[in-house]
Each structure stands twice: as C-alpha cells, then as structure tokens.
C-alpha cells in the first residue's frame, strides 16, 4: 500500500516535471521568437504565390520558393520558369518591376516507338514494375539496349501527369507537358529528350546500332537509311546510323515534311502519330 503510494507520487512528479518543462520551454521559445522576429522579404512570398507551385525543378532551383528567392535577388529572370504561362510571368515581372526575360518553352519527347508489339523482348521480366529495377536485371527485358522500357518511372515522376504508358511505351501528352525535365532525369535509358516546344516532328528512335541489327529486333526503329537527310539536309542529320531532327535549325520539320520524306519504318513522325501508333496492336512479325 505504502509502495503504491510512493510510486504514484513519483509518476505524478515525473509527469508534472516533463509537462512543466514542455510548457516553460514552449513559452520561452514563443516569447523569444516574438521579440527577436526577423522580417523576411515579403516579395519572396508574393512571387511564390504567383508561381505555379509545382516544385518541378525545371528552372534548376530546389523548388518554387527557392526560385522566387532567386528572382527577387535578381539572379534569375521570372521567365526562367518553364511552367508559368506568358501571363503569369508577366504578372511576376510587373509585381517586381523587372524584365520578363527569355521564355524558352520546352517539352519532353520519348525517342522510342518500340511497343510491346513492335519490338522484341529477350526475356520475360516478372520483377518489381520499375524501369530502374528492370535495368538491374541484365539491362531489362528488351532486346534493344536503348529503347523505352515502358515501366513508367517517368510517368510516376511527372508532376503534371503528362506521360502515359501505352502498350509498354511511354508517350508524352504535349498539351500537359511543360518541359521541366523531371522525366528525363529519372529515365535509366536516357531515352527522353527535352526539345523546343515548337517542334512537333521527331525521330522516335534512340538506338545508334546498325540498321540491319535494329530491323531484326524492332519494327519501328530508325534504320539510318538517310532518306530524310537526302530529302531535307537542312532539317535532319545522320549520326551513327540514327537520323535526328536538327532542333536548332531555323526551320523545324512539319507534317508536310513527314509526308514528303515517307520514312520506311515510320520512326520519323508527328507526336500525335506516335501516340496513335502506340495504341495499335499490330504484330508485324
């Protein structure tokens, strides 16, 4: 009985001590925080509010707040944000009284068109459904060492939901993509490129191997035949068996160009066609 009383007393004392310490320390910190309050730059909050708040990192900063700080300090122009529309950037520039800066809109493109049906697999992969995991097992199930693995690491990473996986191929929805580059950074194959948003025609292949070898394992690869380069050397170039669109050229290829070239495998295509083709269930083999 006596022991019980003492124990209760100790427990109560311990609880009271901790509660007291908590209350006192909390009150002291609260009071000191009031007394020693430091006024932050209110412009940073203002700019943060005007930014999209996606924290995608497309500007090269650690997030929207970090970018806002750099805009206020003059390190970056507001136009460096790839996500903001022209109006949003204008609002920020107006609020701070600075120049808009160059708005370089970009977007992502998956340079592969090898779906489940058009490209071959060397094995059945039953592991964790992630490209990064699949890469660890002998470089993934695809025969092609350069193409899209289609397990959606990029789609999960995209803060804007702009990537869809159709028949084991990542496809970018242009209208949603802002070109922040999060997807390109996670892709273990490096198959995603960040290109100017104005470009609508791309070569949907990433393999630098010889045409004949590619033909064996994929029905939609660029064979490196050079048909497009011969047709329009201004807009295309050939490097190591792979044609590329010259994105820095003054004129970008259009739908007419694609038609005029008539790519034998359809690797050179418009972005919409890439999306359509991904959903077609054709096995040409």
């Amino acid at each position: 009985m006596m022991l019980g009383a003492i124990e209760t007393g100790r427990i109560l004392m311990a609880a009271a001590l901790m509660a007291g310490a908590g209350v006192v320390l909390g009150a002291v910190i609260g009071a000191i925080a009031r007394i020693f309050r430091v006024e932050g730059d209110s412009r940073v909050d203002l700019v943060t509010e005007l930014l999209p708040g996606a924290n995608c990192g497309g500007c090269g900063k650690a997030g929207c707040r970090d970018f806002a700080k750099s805009v206020v300090s003059g390190e970056n122009p507001p136009g460096k944000c790839p996500v903001s529309t022209r109006e949003q950037v204008g609002a920020i520039a107006l609020a701070l009284g600075v120049e808009v800066g160059e708005v370089a809109h970009k977007k992502a493109v998956v340079r592969c068109s090898g779906t489940l049906f058009t490209s071959d697999r060397v094995a059945y992969y039953n592991g964790i459904h992630k490209c990064s995991s699949a890469m660890l097992v002998g470089g993934g199930p695809k025969v092609c060492r350069y193409g899209c693995l289609g397990m959606g690491d990029c789609a999960r990473k995209c803060p804007f939901g702009a990537i869809e996986i159709i028949n084991n191929l990542a496809v970018v929805h242009e209208e949603l993509c802002v070109g922040c580059g999060s997807c390109a950074a996670v892709c273990p194959r490096g198959v995603i490129a960040i290109v100017p948003a104005a470009a609508h025609v791309h070569v949907f292949c990433n393999s630098p191997e010889k045409g004949a070898q590619k033909r064996k394992v994929c029905r939609s690869a660029c064979l490196g035949c050079g048909k497009c380069v011969r047709k329009d050397p201004e807009k295309f170039e050939l490097e190591a068996g792979l044609a590329r669109v010259k994105y820095s050229a003054p004129e970008l290829p259009t739908a007419e160009t694609v038609e005029a070239v008539g790519c034998p495998t359809g690797a050179l295509a418009m972005t919409e066609r890439h999306r359509q083709k991904a959903s077609e269930e054709t096995n040409a083999k």
Partner: protein, 196 residues
C-alpha cells in the same frame, strides 16, 4: 590534474569521434569539403558548450529535489529531459542569432539544427551526468569535447579532399576508402591513450 582530464582528455585522449565513436554521422556526412567542415565544427563547439552547461544545471537541480518533505529521484527522466532541453536551447540560439548576429547565423545557420539531437551532444551531457560534474566542469568538458570533434572533423575533411585526387581501386572509391581512412585516423588517436 582534474582540468587536464577535462581539456586534453576530452579533446584528444577520449576524443568523441575517434575513441568514443559518437557523432559519426556528421563526421562522415559533412567532411567532404573543408569549408562545410569548418561551419559544422563551429556549430558543434557552440552547441556542445552551451548544452553541457545547461544539462548539468538541470541534472543537478531539477532531477533530484525534495518536495513537501519527500525526496524525489527522477534520474530516469534524464535522456528525455536532456533531449528536450538541448532541442529547445538550439532553437532559442537560432532565433536569437538570426536577429542579433546575422553574420554568425549565416556561418552556423544550416548546421545548428543538424546537430540538435546528435548523439555527441547528448553523449557529452550524459557523461557529465554520470560523473556528477559541476556546472563549470561540465561546461569546460563540453567545450573541449567540441574542440576534439572539430579537430577530428577538420583532419578528416582535409584527408578526404586529398583522397579526391587519389585513384584507389574501383571498389574502394568513395565511402569505402573514407571509412578505412577514418579507421586509420582513429588508430593514430589511440596513441594518446594513457596520457591522462
């Protein structure tokens, strides 16, 4: 003799990192570059000194007391209370520094919260409590423990900067060679054993 143990003993013979193996996390984490190591060292010395003094004060006067003629020994609350006090103390220092000394805040700023609940800081407080040191002794011990930590961290950071230029075998690159280096550094420090 007592003060020899509290100063040289704390800094070299019973060095927190290299012979007590406390605070290994910042030792490996912020030792990649010398300037970050310097910032961290300053913060550690600062916090350890203040935390040791404060916790000794609390331990001696708050955990053992007589209430209504009954003596209470609440020593079992030691760790809980120490963590609470150290965390609150660092928070306070940060707030005060930000206002009163922005220069110092910029130098220590990001490192202060990092070491709030570090085991080296808590370890210094606990060792003081175990030895029943007075507030003054505890503060001296805390300060020189911090100096010892700083010495180890700066030595290691300089070594790691040199290691960047060396070309060890592929399997040893990065963390493995750093850990081996830390081990050899600890062996060198064991030469101080028996000094006091």
């Amino acid at each position: 003799m007592k003060y020899l143990e509290l100063t040289v003993g704390a800094a070299l013979v019973y060095n927190f990192v290299l012979s007590r193996f406390l605070g290994i996390c910042p030792f490996l984490g912020v030792s990649k570059r010398l300037d970050t190591a310097m910032g961290m060292s300053g913060a550690v010395i600062f916090v350890m000194t203040l935390a040791s003094g404060t916790t000794a004060l609390v331990y001696r006067h708050l955990l053992r007391f007589t209430f209504r003629g009954k003596a209470y020994d609440l020593g079992f609350l030691q760790i809980l209370l120490f963590i609470l006090i150290i965390a609150a103390l660092v928070q306070l220092i940060e707030i005060v520094l930000q206002k009163s000394s922005p220069k110092l805040y910029q130098a220590l700023g990001i490192y202060l919260p990092l070491i709030t609940t570090n085991c080296a800081v808590l370890g210094a407080a606990t060792i003081n409590a175990q030895n029943g040191r007075t507030v003054l002794d505890a503060t001296i011990f805390g300060c020189f423990s911090g100096v010892g930590f700083a010495l180890a961290l700066l030595l290691f950071a300089s070594l790691r900067e040199k290691l960047e230029l060396a070309s060890p075998p592929k399997a040893m690159e990065g963390t493995p060679i750093a850990l081996v280096t830390a081990g050899i550094l600890a062996m060198a420090f064991s030469g101080f054993a028996g000094l006091c």
